[in-house]
């Protein structure tokens, strides 16, 4: 099962290569790498400087929910391989947070499934971000736009 929740960084090139390795029926791999931004997403004009980000998670539930979503994308789209790696702990701007990747014979399936995974991770995976700003540590608030992005997939048949 290609799901990992870890504090360590990951090697994107090696992970993507391993995903398609040995299966020459795969036509392509769509992926998304999420990175720590140096600015909070403030409402209005810009945000505050972010010097670090700490990701808390719910061990056990995280893996359980990621496994469920992997099963769901595999049921909805014709995928040959799925990978989700999500880090926890303290990260710095520019650090990788998450990698989602979907391999398929079909380009559209790979893109849709990968995008769905990211929208799902933003709204359902039990992770919480705390930012370090000049005003102190602050929990990141969930964004309504992320809910809308995730809801989109309920209406669309694949």
């Amino acid at each position: 099962m290609a799901i990992r929740v870890q504090a360590e960084d990951f090697d994107v090139g090696a992970e993507l290569a391993a995903l398609s390795d040995g299966n020459p029926s795969i036509g392509g791999v769509a992926s998304f790498v999420g990175l720590v931004r140096d600015m909070s997403k403030g409402d209005g004009a810009g945000g505050d400087a972010v010097s670090a980000l700490t990701l808390e998670h719910y061990p056990g539930m995280t893996e359980r929910q990621l496994a469920a979503i992997e099963a769901e994308v595999r049921a909805r789209w014709p995928l040959d391989a799925v990978l989700i790696i999500h880090r926890h702990g303290r990260l710095l701007p520019g650090d990788r947070i998450v990698l989602a990747a979907c391999a398929s014979a079909h380009r559209a399936a790979a893109f849709e499934a990968c995008w769905f995974l990211m929208d799902w991770l933003k709204t359902k995976a039990p992770f919480w971000k705390q930012e370090e700003t000049p005003d102190g540590a602050r929990w990141v608030e969930a964004k309504e736009e992320d809910e809308h992005a995730a809801d989109r997939w309920r209406q669309q048949a694949p």
Binding site: G34, L55, E56, H57, Y58, G60, M61, R64, Q65, H86, I97, V98, M118, L121, K122, T123, K124, A125, P126, F127, W128, K129, Q130, W139, V140, E141, A142, D146
Partner: protein, 83 residues
């Protein structure tokens, strides 16, 4: 019954995890939150706005009317912000 708190709920309540034995009339997740709110100002403050309190029982999302059993692992946390 084991209760876990995450993110600012954990910070406000001041603990990540506790064992509780709510009275028999606490039958659902909603009842549990009402009962927890009565346990002191930190709980009352943390749980004041239920619109921002998510609940998982045995590591699955549930609603506020989910029935509870004694051995359940209940988690309370704010909307998630991973990804």
């Amino acid at each position: 019954m084991r209760i876990l708190y995450f993110a600012w709920l954990r910070a406000k309540i001041g603990t990540a995890e506790e064992e509780v034995a709510p009275p028999a009339e606490v039958a659902t997740t909603g009842d549990l939150i009402t009962w927890l709110q009565s346990r002191g100002p930190a709980y009352a403050d943390a749980l004041a706005n239920r619109a921002v309190v998510k609940v998982a029982v045995n590591q699955d999302y549930v609603g506020m009317d989910h029935p509870l059993a004694p051995g359940d692992e209940v988690a309370l946390f704010p909307p998630v912000t991973g990804g």
